[in-house]
Symmetry: C2
Subunit: 406 residues, 2 copies
């Protein structure tokens, strides 16, 4: 039996495709430190679980396609803290930030259309692009420039009659880059001059370090009708398993259009919506503590990487990822080797090969993404394992990259 | 700002698009009996809620993209009761039956490909087709033939080089039709002879009345590699809000391909998966009671409709829907009128206009789908309101159909 071309040409998630190898390692009794996935170990606020426990309906019924009004209101209340006003009919609840992005693409682009995306980007953008039949056109950014954007004229060269939107995460996954207001104004101008939407993935809004200034695209009132904010409770409240995200836009007609997509999948899980609705009341102290904790983790990982021979990386100022260039030919081969053939005291570490975070062929092959989502002790151990692993791997691999294991 | 053509051309859900009018009616103090949506009032088994309450992890983490192993095992155990064997790597957990259908389409069809679907069909098939960029080619079935399939040669006429699959719900939504083994064998032969997949939506498996025989497409061993079973706990356990569905196929390579789609949206809501995993242990008595209850509801609705002047319908033997032809020009106009302008003791009834359940233009315009998902007393009242409403509506509407309200 044949499969569709679009599914066979779709890449496996570089974050998840090596999971079976990790499971195999674990089955052999090896401990694996997961730096491959953005799964924080921070406690989910108790109020989430309490709300779920208090659910006392007899029938677990469908919710509204646009989401529980109570949950939408909680998002609105949350945005108000940032000085952003959204009305009830300017928001939709989605199955995580993933569905929010997919629906935003479908509503703004027809098949064959193009979206400009700074690369490296969250690898699943490729998956959404594939599902929606659009082309992700990369705006290449470089580690040595802190993954900041190239000048306007460089970006304008990438525009074609098929370009419909600019999409980015800010703070950036996997780069940790926070765009400056100047960069955002440049993107705003490009969107205005070329009639583009801006799909702004802001799920790491809270995770900003070193006194950096962060601004939402929702703040640009002059392009309010072309800005789509996608969001999620996953990272903010360490509630990844809730799969609760949102789409917000002052363009009410657009929201009405996207509602049709929401209707076609009926609704988002009811119980998780009820849990998520309580999260807005989590105190601000929670974030102060959590952000401080992530900053310390970032420092551990960044300092360790900086001291490893042959490793290049820049200090990230947001989100909880870091892209590192390793002294290897093929980062995926190295990651597989760490899982299969290496351990320190029967422990090893798992990273995400970064090639899948690029759209430009050949880029990222010797890079990995690390998520600093584990506690500080675990991170220290993991970084030691990585350092040892790199030493052993680079000494046994033939310099010509032929994988002969000499 | 422009929207994509595919989103503007997408129909609103005929089941849900009139909800705002119903909400308006309710805000004015009117009670609305909802026969428009398949939302049962049957109690969700207590074990679901207990499992959720017993969830005691500190972190609400991502689940596996393919679904919690425990939940997959529970589905496997459930299928074993029907003599169907699926292995762990032959199943995926999805966001309801909706995502199971969408993913099955994407994995088997490229954009522009065609799928044969007996019509009337579950209206959201149009939505999935639209999102996937494929064409739903209707195999028209008729109320007077109990919505059974036309002869093989009629179906074969619809086949083109772009046809990739046959998709159907069995028992049927909205028809209540249960295909005979002969009909299923015919579809099997067509699939074999033309190298098609069969996407079999079997979410109403339990809801079979009058001693009718039901068989799953998973029983045809000779086409096991081309059969995809989509399923859901929504109707079976009155757990629509859980949004837990599944894809199962003996074609392991196909499952591996679809896993890439699952990875791109990370996972299904964790807590609801844990609740759903407990449902397999609900006793068989539960279904005996529930099915008997639905049978009695079916009888109330069918008998009432049969006695209404100008109404045509056939007795359905499965699922919990009935399609009825009304003595009106435009069923949607009638449904809106029931909500806006009619009541009996300040109560009214909401139905789903059936036009959106057809792909052939012009069909279903004077038909509605009724879900018999309310308790018997409510159904009796609702049927009285409908009968009264029909009398008043047909008397005030000008016979020429000009909507002058004379």
């Amino acid at each position: 039996m044949n499969f569709s071309n679009r599914i066979t040409s779709m890449q496996e998630s570089p974050i998840r495709k090596l999971v079976p190898i990790a499971v195999e390692a674990k089955n052999k009794g090896k401990k694996v430190y997961h730096l491959n996935i953005g799964q924080p170990d921070i406690k989910t606020p108790e109020t989430f679980f309490e709300s779920i426990k208090n659910f006392d309906e007899n029938v677990l019924a469908y919710s509204f396609s646009q989401g529980l009004p109570k949950l939408i209101d909680s998002f609105r209340k949350y945005y108000k803290k940032y000085g952003i006003d959204f009305e009830q009919d300017e928001m939709l609840i989605t199955n995580g930030g993933s569905e929010a992005l997919l629906f935003s693409i479908i509503a703004t682009c027809d098949r064959g259309d193009e979206i400009l995306v700074p690369e490296p980007f969250y690898t699943n953008y490729n998956g959404f692009g594939n599902m929606a039949g659009i082309k992700v056109v990369p705006i290449t950014t470089k580690a040595e420039e802190g993954f900041h954007l190239p000048p306007k004229e460089e970006i304008e060269k990438l525009i074609t009659p098929k370009t419909k939107a600019i999409m980015m995460s800010n703070p950036g996954n996997p780069t940790g880059c926070i765009y400056t207001i100047k960069e955002m104004e440049m993107l705003r101008d490009i969107a205005k001059e070329n009639d583009f939407y801006i799909i702004s993935d802001e799920v790491y809004r809270e995770f900003v370090y070193d006194g950096f200034e962060y601004m939402s695209f929702a703040k640009f009132e002059d392009i309010a009708d072309r800005v789509i904010i996608t969001d999620s409770v996953s990272k903010r409240y360490s509630a990844c398993g809730a799969r609760i995200g949102s789409i917000a836009s002052k363009n009410k007609d657009l929201i009405k259009q996207i509602l049709k997509l929401c209707q076609s999948r009926l609704c988002v899980a009811t119980v998780e919506q009820i849990g998520a609705a309580s999260l807005v009341d989590v105190s601000d102290d929670y974030f102060i503590e959590v952000v401080e904790e992530y900053k310390q983790r970032r420092d551990i990982v960044y300092n360790a990487l900086s001291n490893m021979e042959g490793v290049n990386c820049k200090k990230p100022h947001g989100a909880f990822y870091i892209i590192a260039q390793l002294p290897v030919e093929d980062a995926e081969d190295f990651v597989v080797w760490l899982l299969k053939d290496f351990d320190v005291n029967n422990e090893t570490v798992m990273l995400a090969p970064a090639e899948g975070f690029y759209a430009t062929k050949g880029l990222g092959k010797n890079e990995v993404r690390l998520s600093y989502v584990l506690n500080q002790e675990s991170l220290k151990t993991a970084m030691n394992i990585l350092e040892e692993g790199l030493k052993v791997y680079t000494s046994i691999k033939c310099k010509c990259g032929c994988k002969c294991n000499k």
